[in-house]
């Protein structure tokens, strides 16, 4: 019996029918109870209870998004991936039992207002090690101070306006270096580790070693007012009086881009630690969002009726707190609508804002620091009543929460103060990311790995997970090109050919009837689709006309 391959019509060829059957995932049998020599049995058999609520934060797949043009193979793989993610998130939630530390707290008794509790009271009530974390450095000679903690929270860099630059390990109070740069210091930042410091001096940007040796003087960055370091991209962003936002790659030592913000003097800058976007505050009340990949700002948000004086973004990138010359302190939602969530009028405008790792917001107004807290890590701070307040011996010039300690560092006219803020910091750090107790060897290994996985600057955008999305545009482009090349669409549905049946069910009349059935079904689907589209168009057309336009006699000539 000779069978040559049948020449089909214009039908795209069918797939091979003999495919290996997909195996179902093996179900794990319940393990039999372990029998020990002593006869003792596990009083809590089975795996540890997995809190379903906690598992939610480990899920990354957005199930509401649907994939268009998906084939059954891709869909089945997606389903398998979603099932795996469920299991993995439960396991990760279960592993949270192993986290050793608990966050701090401060509660007043019998309706006592925590804001009235003074730092000295807290110092008395707390253990010696924590009490030692509260200190005041009286440095009146060299001007108001700005400060910066390193990424691990172990080291502190301070820069006084009259040129005093120092770096120390504030926990052991061991001084690393102390120099006077003989020029005004406007801002100071640690680079990726405690080994390097960037100092924005009066004229240019200087980079120092933690021993005080000047390593670089970058003359292209002149008259800088603010510095921000993007740790995962090794980029130092500088905002200057000339209105330029310059990104400097500190690993290779090249200026990535110098963007003209076209808004005059740039005074107010902060970074969003979630997506590495730089926020610039302007004197017309707007906040613009910048990425080194684009010459124009990614977004502009109108925040205040006067100029914006301070901004801060929390560590998850969800909330932005801004304060302006109109004495308002507002919290905006960054991941979604960019609308203000809450606002508060302050007696005096806040010149400095800082978020802690657990969502506490600190505002420096004059010589007073107010701290507001929220429900926990994910929620915005409620601006009703402050959690803590403190009056300093001089006006606030710098504010930063220490990364893994319950401490707020304040730089002011009279030096540096380290305040105790129970519940501010993330209690459990990850040893492979930032480890305050790392040894020299561990730091070197970490530095090499961080440099190897340095993210290129072009990948900075509003959604850091954008790289994981399906590139629908390229997919559609490729599909179009393939259809053009082949002359037919290989994925189009093959026209229906009724299968030949036995026992007289394959007569011409029944074949025609079967074909008609399928054709009618397809026709009905098409009609339904077109009806839906027409309804959609109607609804779009019914949208309300823009208010403020009065109907006039000339309208008949418009449409």
């Amino acid at each position: 019996m000779e069978t040559a391959p049948k020449p089909g019509g214009d039908a795209p060829p069918k797939k091979n029918k003999l495919r290996a059957k997909r195996k179902k995932p093996r179900e794990r049998r319940n393990p039999e109870p372990q029998r020990t020599l002593s006869g003792a049995q596990d009083p809590f058999p089975g795996p540890a209870p997995a809190p379903v609520e906690a598992a939610r934060k480990f899920r990354r797949i957005d199930k509401s998004k649907k994939l268009l043009h998906s084939k059954s193979k891709a869909r089945s793989r997606l389903e398998a991936a979603e099932a795996e993610e469920e299991e993995a998130s439960l396991r990760a939630a279960r592993s949270e039992l192993l986290l050793a530390e608990e966050p701090g707290f401060l509660e007043g008794e019998d309706g006592e207002d925590t804001a009235k509790i003074r730092q000295t009271d807290i110092v008395e009530a707390v253990d010696i090690a924590s009490a030692a974390k509260h200190f005041d450095l009286n440095l009146r000679q060299f001007g108001p101070y700005r400060l910066n903690y390193s990424r691990t929270g172990r080291h502190l860099a301070l820069g006084g306006r009259r040129g005093h630059v120092a770096a120390l390990d504030w926990v052991t109070k061991k001084l690393m270096c102390e120099i006077n740069v003989m020029e005004a210091v406007r801002d100071i930042r640690f680079l990726h580790s405690e080994a390097l410091l960037a100092v924005a001096q009066n004229r240019w940007l200087h980079i120092y070693d933690n021993q005080g040796i000047e390593l670089h003087c970058i003359r292209r960055c002149d008259r800088i007012t603010q510095l921000e370091f993007l740790p995962f991209h090794f980029l130092l962003a500088t905002a200057s009086e000339t209105g330029f936002l310059t990104y400097l790659d500190v690993s290779v030592g090249k200026i990535v881009t110098a963007l003209n913000a076209r808004a005059g003097r740039l005074d107010v800058m902060t970074q969003n630690p979630y997506n590495a976007i730089i926020h610039l505050g302007h004197s017309n009340g707007t906040v613009s969002l910048w990425s080194p990949a684009m010459k124009e700002p990614l977004a502009k948000i109108l925040c205040h009726r006067g100029g914006v004086r301070a901004m801060a973004v929390d560590s998850t990138g969800t909330y932005m707190a801004t304060s302006g010359l109109d004495h308002q302190l507002k919290i905006f939602d960054l991941r979604g609508t960019f609308q203000p969530l809450s606002s508060r009028t302050l007696p005096q405008g806040a010149g400095h804002l800082a978020f802690s790792q657990r969502g506490l917001l600190a505002a420096g107004m004059g010589d007073v620091v107010n701290i507001w807290s929220g429900q926990g890590k994910g929620s915005p701070p409620s601006l009703e009543k402050p959690y803590l307040t403190h009056r300093l011996s001089g006006h606030v010039h710098g504010l930063q929460f220490c990364p893994f300690e319950d401490v707020l560092g304040v730089g002011h006219n009279g030096g540096i103060t380290s305040m105790l803020v129970p519940g501010a910091a993330e209690p459990n750090f990850d040893g492979l990311e930032n480890n305050p107790y790392r040894s020299r060897k561990q730091r070197q290994e970490w530095e090499v790995k961080a440099l190897l996985e340095k993210v290129p600057a072009e990948l900075i955008c509003l959604d850091p997970r954008a790289l994981a999305e399906v590139d629908v545009i390229t997919l559609e482009q490729e599909k179009k090109e393939r259809i053009e090349r082949l002359g037919y669409d290989p994925e189009a549905k093959a026209p229906f050919h009724p299968k030949p049946k036995q026992k007289g069910r394959s007569s011409t009349a029944s074949l025609v009837k079967r074909k008609r059935k399928v054709m009618d079904e397809e026709h009905r689907d098409k009609v339904r689709q077109s009806l839906k589209q027409k309804q959609q168009q109607k609804e779009d057309g019914k949208k309300p006309k823009p208010t403020g336009t009065r109907s006039s006699a000339l309208d008949r000539f418009m449409h």
Partner: protein, 445 residues
């Protein structure tokens, strides 16, 4: 007031003595690990680049034959032994760990057409252009003895291929017809034939051990059943098949190395369409061998290269070539799925790694974990254009590269003409034939 400050005891975070390992507490909260996707992407990019940096597959060249190597055979029980037959009738046995020839014998006058080992590994058979089948002992001759075959069988016609049964004391030769021999007899127990042309190679199925596949000069592949002593079915292709190899893991799948520069993987149960057409060679494919995992195979071609194909893909994942390697006649994948041996025209047998960037030897557990992680990253990000570009890049000799470009132009021209013909003729008169079906002429049962 109730107050508690976060206070860590350094004893819990710093190691006690210098001899301990460092303590690394872990917290998998995603907020502590920002930029997951871009960092993983950069790690995948680095892993792909490093794979190309460490891709050094060539291991050794076994020198010693005085004419081109015509056939290779693996020892079924010893990974380090390989047998090779040359075009001047010499058969050499090599030790791969020492990379030396341990035994030489002048087996035939003329080409050694085929060589195959017995399943127990105690002896092997060779056939030559002098119409003889000789059986030899695997252990060398003891002191004072001469190199003599255990048995010599004289035939009437030239034999072109030999293969031994995987379980019984039976072997098959092919020439004018396919003969099944019992080892004790000097004449075949049965002969099977279908058609009038000479048969170039025969192979036993390793799983369904009574099945045989053979390729003949009249462009067909015939399957035989040894129990019924009849041919089962045949498939006629466009051009002649040089060799056939059965998949050691799937009982009914075999791959045919064809003269039209392609390889065809067939499912025995449905011969009308090949499961996959593997196209990457630019000249006739001479030999094919499967990996013991059954997931990949290696093919040797008249263009001076060998290519490794996955069974389910139509493009090769790897190409090995050297300036000194000329037309590759035979290729084998070792039984531990780690190495590939190829024998070529210029009298050398070359040993290659199956995974070009694999580190040989014992790996520490950390090395293994790091390599597994990198492998998973490469798989996860393999569709991204930058990573695909780097992973795909192979240096090719100028001859192969220019041939590829030329053949691409020719294929493009043919395709364009067919599209135009279809566009300008009555719809349905120019049928769309899939690439798989194009090369099959007929299936006969």
């Amino acid at each position: 007031m109730k107050v508690k400050m976060l206070s860590r005891n350094p004893d819990n975070y710093v190691r006690e003595t210098k001899l301990d390992i460092q303590r690394v507490p872990r917290n998998y909260d995603p907020t502590l690990h920002p930029f997951e996707v871009p960092r993983e992407y950069v790690r995948a990019l680095n892993a792909t680049k490093l794979e190309r940096v460490f891709a050094k597959p060539f291991l050794a060249s076994l020198d010693g034959h005085r004419d081109g190597v015509n056939c290779l055979a693996k020892h079924p029980k010893s990974l380090a032994t390989v047998l090779s037959g040359a075009c001047d009738g010499e058969v050499k046995i090599w030790n791969l760990t020492k990379r030396k020839c341990i035994r030489t014998m002048q087996a035939h006058e003329g080409f050694v057409r085929g060589i195959c080992t017995r399943f127990c590994g105690s002896s092997f058979f060779t056939i030559g252009d002098d119409k003889t089948v000789k059986q030899w002992k695997m252990d060398g001759p003891s002191y004072g003895e001469e190199e003599e075959p255990l048995q010599t069988i004289l035939g009437k016609t030239v034999y072109t291929g030999i293969d031994h049964h995987w379980k019984e004391a039976v072997f098959a030769t092919c020439g004018q017809q396919v003969d099944i021999w019992d080892e004790q007899r000097t004449s075949p127990i049965c002969s099977m034939t279908w058609g009038f042309d000479s048969i170039s190679s025969v192979k036993f199925n390793p799983i369904e051990t009574f099945l045989l596949g053979s390729c003949a000069s009249d462009r067909n592949i015939v399957l035989y059943d040894m129990r019924q002593a009849t041919p089962l079915k045949k498939v006629i292709l466009d051009m002649r098949t040089n060799t056939v190899c059965w998949n050691p893991m799937e009982a009914f799948v075999f791959t045919a190395a064809n003269e039209d520069y392609n390889l065809y993987t067939f499912d025995m149960r449905a011969l009308d369409t090949p499961v996959m057409v593997h196209m990457d060679h630019v000249s006739a494919v001479l030999d094919v061998d499967y990996s013991p995992t059954g997931k990949e195979f290696v093919s040797a071609s008249f263009d001076k290269s060998i290519r490794i194909f996955p069974v389910n893909k139509s493009r090769s994942r790897e190409v090995y070539h050297t300036k000194r390697m000329q037309h590759v006649i035979c290729v084998k994948w070792t039984s531990d799925s780690k190495y590939i041996m190829c024998g070529s025209d210029e009298m050398n047998i070359r040993l290659w790694k199956a995974n070009a960037s694999e580190k040989l030897g014992v790996l520490t557990s950390r090395e293994k974990a790091a390599m597994d992680y990198n492998q998973k990253l490469k798989e996860k990000f393999k569709h991204y254009p930058q990573i695909k570009r780097i992973a795909r890049h192979r240096h090719l000799p100028k001859s192969i590269y220019s041939q590829i470009l030329e053949q691409r132009v020719m294929k493009e021209a043919r395709r364009r003409k067919e599209v135009n013909r279809r566009k300008h003729s009555k719809p349905g008169s120019v049928p769309i034939v899939s690439e798989k079906k194009k090369h099959i002429v007929a299936v006969v049962k």
